[in-house]
């Protein structure tokens, strides 16, 4: 497969508009994974959030992969494509020839040929990762990897925005619970 560029401004428009249809982070992340799978004609896509306490990756959204694969076991950030957590994207063009995976046999059993992992950065810190899984060996272009980084940065922004929104809503519910006189519309 040649390193054809597949991500362009039209795809960015579609993805950002779809994400903007909701104020819910899970729906935004689901739409991003769905659209990337459809547009890039790949097997699946997963967005992880990093748990810094346990150095584990928690699944925020996933599309195209089997439930068994997604729930195969705890994913440790220092064993599963650890390079991503230094803040840089990492490409595994062929999963049969890599020592970067924590569960290499599960990946092959799932029918995954290649993985692209990009960090989700926010304010210079890695807060998660977005991974794209191809059925076969994948020679992704540098420009597409760079475009995926931009999409991942936007997920980082959305995560922060929805966290603030959630905090505001919690305050509102708490105030509403005290007395109707404080009810906001």
């Amino acid at each position: 497969m040649s390193a054809e560029e597949k991500i362009d401004i039209d795809l960015f428009k579609v993805v950002f508009r779809a994400m903007a249809q909701s104020d819910n982070l899970e729906i935004m992340a689901d739409h991003l994974t769905q659209l990337l799978v459809a547009a890039l004609e790949i097997k699946g896509c997963t967005i992880f959030v990093l748990n810094p306490e346990y150095d584990e990756l928690e699944v925020l959204a996933s599309f195209g992969l089997s439930t068994d694969y997604v729930q195969k076991g705890p994913l440790l950030s220092d064993k599963s494509i650890a390079d991503t957590f230094s803040g840089k994207p990492f490409v595994i063009p062929d999963v049969k020839n890599t020592d970067k995976l924590q569960y290499p046999q599960d990946a092959q059993k799932e029918g995954i040929g290649a993985i692209v992992s990009v960090p989700i950065n926010f304010y210079g810190k890695v807060i998660g990762a977005m991974r794209l899984y191809h059925h076969q060996v994948w020679d992704i272009s540098d420009r597409d990897v760079d475009s995926l980084l931009v999409l991942a940065e936007n997920i980082g922004l959305a995560m922060t925005y929805t966290r603030v929104l959630k905090a505001l809503k919690t305050i509102r519910y708490t105030v509403d619970d005290i007395h109707d006189i404080w009810m906001l519309e």
């Binding site: 362009d8 899970e26 729906i27 966290r163």
Partner: protein, 154 residues
């Protein structure tokens, strides 16, 4: 004896299976039980119809996404039909598989407004940081609903 209405939120995970096992072991032998198994899925995003080549290509790929949703619906039907025949043969089983517009907690709360349930069975995954960003379903339901028993399986 009044019918006891039970809602089970289902999302195809191992914990959901645990929640079903809890419902089976607790309610399966009782009479007058009506169980609703509920799944809300994220619908395929709406794409603007423009003459752009990429959008056109993407629209055709979106049919693949719709197929995946249909596949999930079939999987959901298979699971619930199997339950109705075996473990929960004594109870009336209803299924709801519908697109979500909001967060899962709000979908469950709205469904409870439509059909007043006596018991709601949820599960609680261990993902702590995800909950920090997207909110806790069980917490929101417990804070909002009144006069409903909520069981959380973890």
């Amino acid at each position: 004896m009044a019918i006891q209405k039970i809602l089970v939120a289902y999302n195809f995970t191992h914990l959901d299976q645990k929640a079903i096992e809890f419902v089976t072991s607790t309610f399966a032998r009782l009479d007058g039980i009506e169980i609703t198994i509920f799944h809300a899925y994220t619908p395929v995003p709406e794409i603007e119809t423009q003459a752009s080549m990429v959008t056109g290509k993407l629209k055709s790929s979106l049919s693949y996404l719709s197929q995946q949703v249909m596949q999930r619906e079939n999987e959901f039907k298979e699971i619930t039909e199997k339950l109705a025949k075996n473990d929960l043969a004594n109870a009336q089983i209803h299924t709801i598989f519908r697109p979500r517009k909001k967060d899962i907690a709000s979908e469950i709360i709205n469904l409870n407004r439509e059909t007043k349930f006596d018991v709601i069975v949820l599960n609680r995954k261990a993902a702590r940081v995800t909950r920090f960003f997207s909110g806790s379903v069980s917490h929101k339901i417990l804070m909002t609903l009144k006069e409903t028993t909520v069981c959380v399986v973890s």
